[in-house]
Amino acid sequence: MTHTILVTVLLSLTLISCGKKSDVVEIQDWNFGGRPHLMVWLRQRTESFEQTHPGIKVVQSDKSWNMIREILYASFSTGTGPDVVNTHANYAAEFGEAGYYYPLNTFPDFKEVRHWYMPELLETTRYKDNYYGLPSSAIAFALVCDKAMFDAEGIAPPKTWSQFREAAKRLTKCTDGDGIMDQYGLVLMGGDKGGFAYRMVPFFYKAGVNFMSDDLSKVEFNSPMGVATLALFADMYQVDHSIAPGFLAYGHTETNDMFCGNRVAMCIEGPWVRGMVHEKDPTKEFYIVAVPVPDEMIDRYDTAPTLQDMVMYSVNARSKNLNAAWEFVKYLRNEEADMAWIRDDMGALAVTTAALNSPEAQNIKDLPLFIKELKNARPLPPHPQIVALASNTFTPFCEKAIVGELSPQDALDQAAREAQSVIEGKE
């Protein structure tokens, strides 16, 4: 009898200790989107991380980029969520303010890690003295011009607004003789509110217009120069008819189809453009140039800022495995990893100084242009409400001005009033 009890007890103890986890730490990584090469690379890099860090297991989950806000808010507001996640850098303000993201600068080795990156890019993850992410994929917006169309017309890619407007006008034509326009100078992305803002703001920035004051207290896009920027597009649409009229319904696919299908001569895109276009039409050639500047600012052509955007990897402030998560994030974004952004089509630019200045970088088509633009580029202001302000206030009013429902002045003034009240917390 005692024998049986003893055996049972020993057996139970063994079983209990087997049930207890060994010292393997498990972290969750939620991956939102990415070009196909990036996703493949991510899996490989994660495997390599697990091999070089035997105590850590990474459970990866692909999530729907379109529903990123719903997914993240549901999890973070309940105190759950992944240990590591990739979001756009402008979430640093929002999620940093809300306490969802962990301030990475509290890790002791951040002092060294921070020097891997281009300083401007790292600054984009900063909000109120804390850094909430490590830079991942850098984006600078540039102007893309269809080579065949421009060459046939004998014009060079535009540098100033007048040249831009003229090019768009000349390249808006009827190509099949039935008297109806089927080729347009420019396409905009009106069907994607965020995407539209990202393609408008570069022109504002190049013209020296701020979206908001540096202390984030005052909206500034309705300055006279801002109104002039919007007026440029309004005139192109209403007077020259050189902007594709269906633009209000166009998302990424539609603008890409328009460009690849030879329906438009110019579009405003980022480093993904070569991969995206060649996926659809491997033979298409195009010029990628800096976004044009106002005529009177031509002397600033090489230094005027375009819009910068960036993805970053962040750590959940409530993670139970902060150190493991930090190790993983560092491994994903160190200089060695970053070279993949130079060698492969990741749809975006590298972020480390080493990679961006490497000899390989100079050889890859378009990279020099994007890197040059990146060095001067500025992100959207780091305000917690910037996503809502850009998509829901800036975009609709700009669209109304372009199609002629409002004058550019009225549109931007009304938008500024609305944005100002959102900033000040009253509605």
């Binding site: 806000r69 719903e70 808010y73 507001s77 929002e94 303010e97 809300a98 306490g99 039935d178 109806i180 326009m181 089927d182 009106g190 069907g191 994607d192 509110k193 594709a244 009229p245 269906g246 633009f247 209000l248 319904a249 166009y250 539609e254 189809d257 328009m258 299908g261 329906r263 917690p384 409400q385 996503v387 809502a388 998509s391 829901n392 609709p396 669209e399 109304k400 199609v403 429902e405 959102v422 509605e427």
Partner: protein
């Protein structure tokens, strides 16, 4: 004990409903009268401030109007088409009606997310098949935009909604038609009634219960239908097709203002409850009569 039987029978269903419906409903009511933000979470009591903010929001009236049109037009058209097709298929011309009734239910079975994209593609202004046919036939100009035109965008999402909902109506009508007693038609034939009169005096009255169930469910579902509009237009262009569920999402997940989002949800909820309450009164009135 006997008296308790119906309540006991209701109990399991009630438990489900309580767990999964009551809690969110209560949360929404609470959130709607408090200041809720992403940063501070659920904050202090602010009375009806969220409700007034919603009412003063320029998008509210627009969304409300659009949703009413979407729900009513979408449901009524779906019912009309469902009825027409049910009548057509009821004529039993042989094998083809079996195949057709199967094919006609496909819109309902296709994943709603993909259905939205499919509509976007076929309505694309330059690359869509619909414009290709219409412009080849000379009916419209090349590149006419449907989803990018504020005047036609709502119409397009309603069309997609009708396409998605009519199979349900059709199936219910088919069943309803087949349960109409033949004697009624025979009697009418003896009296020399025309097809027209037979339809309005026999068919329709017999279908009234089906029609009322479809109307109520159709309207309620349309009021909360997020997918179709979101995928096709996101409520655009320039908010021309903004509907209440998409607006709730804007408040709750773009601005992260759950207070406003909840207030709008409660307002929609109250409206739908009122409508359903009226419907149930009518329905049970008929039963006891």
């Amino acid at each position: 004990m006997k008296k308790a039987t119906p309540y006991l029978l209701l109990l399991p269903a009630l438990l489900f409903t309580a767990l999964v419906v009551a809690f969110p409903l209560v949360q929404n009511i609470i959130n709607s009268v408090r200041e809720v933000s992403m940063v501070k979470g659920v904050g202090k009591w602010i009375g009806l401030a969220n409700y007034t903010h919603v009412l003063h929001d320029p998008l509210f009236l627009l969304s409300f109007r659009n949703t009413l049109i979407y729900a009513l037009a979408g449901t009524l058209l779906a019912l009309l088409i469902g009825l027409a097709l049910a009548l057509l298929l009821n004529m039993k011309i042989g094998r083809i009606t079996t195949i057709a009734s199967f094919l006609y239910t496909i819109p309902w079975v296709l994943s709603p997310v993909v259905a939205g994209f499919a509509w976007k593609w076929i309505l694309n202004d330059h690359f869509g098949i619909v414009n290709y046919w219409l412009s080849s036939a000379g009916l419209i100009d090349v590149g006419t935009s449907w989803l990018g035109n504020p005047h036609t965008a709502l119409f397009c999402v309603i069309l997609a909604r009708v396409w998605q909902f009519y199979p349900f109506a059709m199936v219910m009508f088919l069943a309803g038609l087949q349960s109409i007693p033949q004697e009624q038609y025979e009697a009418a034939a003896v009296d020399g009634a025309t097809t027209f009169r037979r339809f309005f005096h026999i068919t329709l009255p017999n279908l009234r219960p089906v029609i009322s169930v479809l109307l109520v469910l159709g309207v309620i579902w349309s009021f909360n239908d997020f997918n179709m509009v979101f995928v096709m237009t996101r409520g655009g262009p320039m908010n021309a097709s903004m509907v209440l569920p998409v607006l709730v999402r804007e408040f709750s997940f773009v601005y992260f203002d759950l207070g406003k989002g909840s207030a709008l949800s409660i307002m929609t909820f109250v409206l739908l409850v009122a409508l359903s309450f009226l419907y149930i009164r009518v329905l049970s009135g008929k039963e006891t009569a």
